[in-house]
């Protein structure tokens, strides 16, 4: 069976689910951010796979453009997210997200 769109989409789905599990189940805020990066990468794989296999023997570039925008947003998100985590660590001396419950009722 030759390589097709399904292979890349299923690999992307597996990576997305691993990232989702980590983002929901981890207590260290830095690890949660790392798992969100895995999820964004999985979406990028799906985008590029669609742009490669949508039309046979041609690459449609729109998927690449979307992947570039996702990378930009991911870089901004990582910078601001890590700055927030460092500020929380400085004030509360922990990066455990269960301890960051100031707004809990």
């Amino acid at each position: 069976m030759s390589l097709g769109l399904e292979h890349y989409l299923i690999l992307s789905a597996i990576l997305f689910s691993i990232g989702l599990y980590g983002a929901l189940a981890k207590r260290n805020a830095v690890v949660v951010l790392m798992c969100i990066e895995i999820m964004l990468n999985a979406v990028n794989i799906a985008m590029v796979a669609f742009s490669r296999y949508l039309v046979p023997d041609v690459v449609v570039l729109t998927g690449h453009v979307f992947a570039i925008f996702i990378m930009t947003v991911a870089a901004a998100e990582a910078a601001v997210g890590l700055a927030i985590i460092i500020t929380i660590y400085r004030n509360r001396h922990t990066v455990d997200i269960e301890q960051a419950d100031l707004m809990q009722g």
Partner: protein
Amino acid sequence: MTELAFWVIAIVLVSSALAVVLLRNVFRAALLLIVCFFGVAALYITLNADFLAAAQVLIYAGAIGILLLFAIMLTRDLHSGNPFHRLHLPALVLSLLLLATIIGVVIGTDWTTISEVPQVVEMPLDEPTTSYIAVALFDQDNGFVLPFEIASVLLLAALIGAVVLVRREGKD
């Protein structure tokens, strides 16, 4: 050849992503996340996306990887490590359900490829993508010029926001 590369990369990707979630040591998890980023770059090469592979190595493996390592070293919780919290079983069930749904949809859908797409930039398979991406981004009629400009404003806002957040108050 591409098939062999795909399977090797897929095994490396899935095992390193699992290691990021399951390892106790946060620092090792971050190093394996960088391995995962390199694997995604290799996957882009199998998809004829050379510019994206280079950007992936520069932005993710370089910039974001180093940023994450810095954050881990600045916020080191030596006693707590990398634990799960008490709701990790519902999270596991939810992500497995999502995985089963996506795989069911992907297998159940008939992915008939269309022969012609109007109004978008296309390119033949065996050429460098960089100049075609430039045309797709900055095309007069259906390019992405406004999103490009908004992305630059977003990066500036993130830059200023990060600086303001980590600056110590009351020093100046």
